[in-house]
Amino acid sequence: MITEAIVLSAILFVIGTFGVLVRRNAIIMFLCIELQLNAVNVAFVAFSNLFGIDGQIFVFFVMTVAAAEAAVGLAIIISIFRHYESVDVGSFNLLKW
């Protein structure tokens, strides 16, 4: 059962990683990062089945931090939309990547 959960979390993580690398829309990239964090949560819950409560507590911290990150991240995305009328990371190039 734990193996399946870990495989699921690995698949989620890989999907998230590919999403960040392939997609160019800032909000989609951000959602893919959230997918990575949720893959981490699945892994923690699965492992805590073996090792006790620690992993599940960690999940709460990850969720809280993800919420804080979302608040700041969406504010930054709004600020960039005001300047460029777009959230496509390919469309602004004042600074070269």
Binding site: I33, A39, V40, L50, S79, H83, L95
Partner: protein, 504 residues
């Protein structure tokens, strides 16, 4: 005083510097809100050191001072028993000095910038204090949960600081890039933590170390976990090939924030990285050693080569900051007593010389984001001799000339590498340093050997009193650590003594 972490109340004492900074940071935010309408109009005097923004800056500085007192008080404290999530060792306290020093210098050099750019001073200084508290949590962490929380408190604060100048497109763009790649890196770090937890059954670094050396850890999970942790830290310290964000972000962010990012964020990430490596994974060096070795070698070579062709000074300093991360990674690969002490010493000196150099860049740029090309420094030395001499000292120290702290720092890193018989890395370090002379000295050459395009070009460069204070402190300490390094080095060596499984 004795701290016993089985009693929860003692965590309050162990975390006193962080708590002081957090409360003070929130206080600065509140005072900033109540001052806002007063600060929106131009001040009658026009003097940046007398504005409402400056009051908040001094207030924030008092918070740093309070935290520094608390940090000094912690020297008289020792723990009994073990198993706490917070370290009360000399290593943490030395790291705290570096982080608090970086915060104080950043606040001092930002007074006129915040005033000129009309930034919201309450939020600016409040975020700096809160981000510094996050860094101190990282330095204190004995548990991967605490490292993660500290890292995020730091990162979220610094994302906001990077995008702080909302009238500036570049600042918003830098903020977005830093946020996306920083959060991406956090994903890797967290997955690494999850796998290490799965392999060893604990998130406490000492317990992980015990499990790894007892051989009870699941090897496959552990290897992937350590690799991902290393990638996550590699992003945070801006090691090649995870450095793509660094030049853009450092160029676009407000200049005082760039100074803060390149010194304090880097210091915090390195301190946490070193603790994880030497306490949790000394027995798993077959996994992390080749990764960190290649990161160090690639970082030193690639960053110095790319810095050679930069014409924007802020961008050049960004590549220089990546290169310095490479030198520091050499200390992580060596991970013996000399290397760890060298790492602390180098981080201290690097904070001083880097922040000092940025202070003058801010001055030359007229407290704004203009005049950042190398050509803008033509004749600067003769027009403003004191600032010119200070910048020359910082550049020589960054390059590693004898007589400056940067030289002694590199010597100690080399000594650590030699103790660990890292001959190839030591050779790369020396060659990279020689290559770096070119781009540091190019600025000095423009400053002293070229004539300015217009005769009164540098007349508007001002260094207000707080910035002068920061420059005096930085120059004095860079020269002191260069000429009389033994005091600082002995202090650093005493600080790493109880760290963990350091090879002597």
């Amino acid at each position: 005083m004795e701290l016993d972490f089985s009693r929860g109340v003692h965590y309050w004492w162990a975390l006193l510097p962080e708590i002081v900074l957090c409360i003070w940071g929130m206080g600065v935010l509140i005072v900033g809100v109540s001052k806002r309408h007063r600060q929106s109009g131009e001040d009658a005097t026009g003097d940046p050191t007398l504005s409402g923004a400056a009051d908040l800056g001094w207030l924030a500085l008092f918070g740093v001072l309070g935290a520094a007192f608390a940090n000094g008080w912690l020297y008289g404290v020792h723990e009994v028993g073990s198993g706490g999530m917070i370290a009360v060792d000399r290593f943490r306290l030395f790291a705290n000095w570096i982080l608090l020093g970086a915060a104080a210098l950043t606040i001092l050099i930002s007074f006129a910038y915040v005033y000129r750019q009309r930034l919201q001073a309450g939020e600016f200084y409040g975020l700096i204090l809160l981000a510094t508290a996050g860094m101190m949590f990282m330095a204190a962490a004995r548990d991967l949960i605490v490292i993660f929380l500290g890292l995020e408190v730091m990162s979220v604060g610094v994302y906001a600081l990077t995008a702080f100048n909302r009238r500036d497109r570049k600042s918003a763009e830098a903020g977005l890039k830093y946020f996306l790649l920083g959060a991406f890196a956090t994903g890797f770090l967290l997955y690494g933590i999850a796998l290490v937890y799965g392999a060893t059954g604990s998130t406490n670094v000492a317990a992980i170390g015990a499990s790894v050396s007892a051989g009870t850890a699941t090897p496959g999970l552990l290897a992937i976990g350590i690799a991902m942790l290393t990638i996550g830290f590699g992003f945070k310290v801006a090691a090649v090939p995870f450095h793509m964000w660094t030049p853009d972000v450092y160029e676009g962010a407000p200049a005082p924030v760039t100074a803060f990012m390149s010194s304090a964020v880097k210091a915090a990430a390195f301190v946490a990285f070193l603790r994880v490596i030497v306490v949790a994974f000394p027995e798993a060096d077959d996994v992390w050693y080749p990764i960190v070795w290649w990161l160090a070698a690639l970082t030193m070579v690639a960053a110095n080569l790319m810095a050679l062709v930069q014409s924007n000074v802020k961008r050049m300093l960004a590549y220089s900051s990546i290169a310095h991360a490479g030198y520091l990674l050499v200390a992580i690969t060596a991970s013996n007593t000399n290397a760890a002490a060298g790492l602390l010493f180098y981080l201290l000196v690097y904070t001083l010389m880097n922040t000092g150099a940025f202070a003058i860049v801010i001055g030359v740029a007229h407290q704004a984001e203009e005049r950042l090309q190398v050509e803008d420094y033509a004749g600067f030395g003769w027009a403003q001799p004191l600032l010119g001499v200070s910048l020359t000292i910082f550049l020589l120290s960054l390059a590693g000339f004898p007589g400056t702290g940067g030289f002694m720092g590199k010597i100690y890193l080399l000594q650590g590498a030699a103790d660990a018989e890292q001959w190839r890395l030591a050779v790369i370090l020396v060659l990279a340093t020689v290559a770096s002379y070119w781009y540091y000295l190019r600025i000095a050459w423009f400053m002293w050997m070229k004539n300015p395009a217009k005769p009164d070009q540098h007349a508007l460069v001002v260094a207000p009193l707080p910035m002068q204070l920061a420059l005096i402190v930085s120059v004095a300490l860079v020269l002191y650590t260069g000429l009389f390094p033994s005091a600082a080095l002995d202090f650093a060596r005493a600080s790493v003594a109880g760290l963990g499984a350091l090879v002597p």
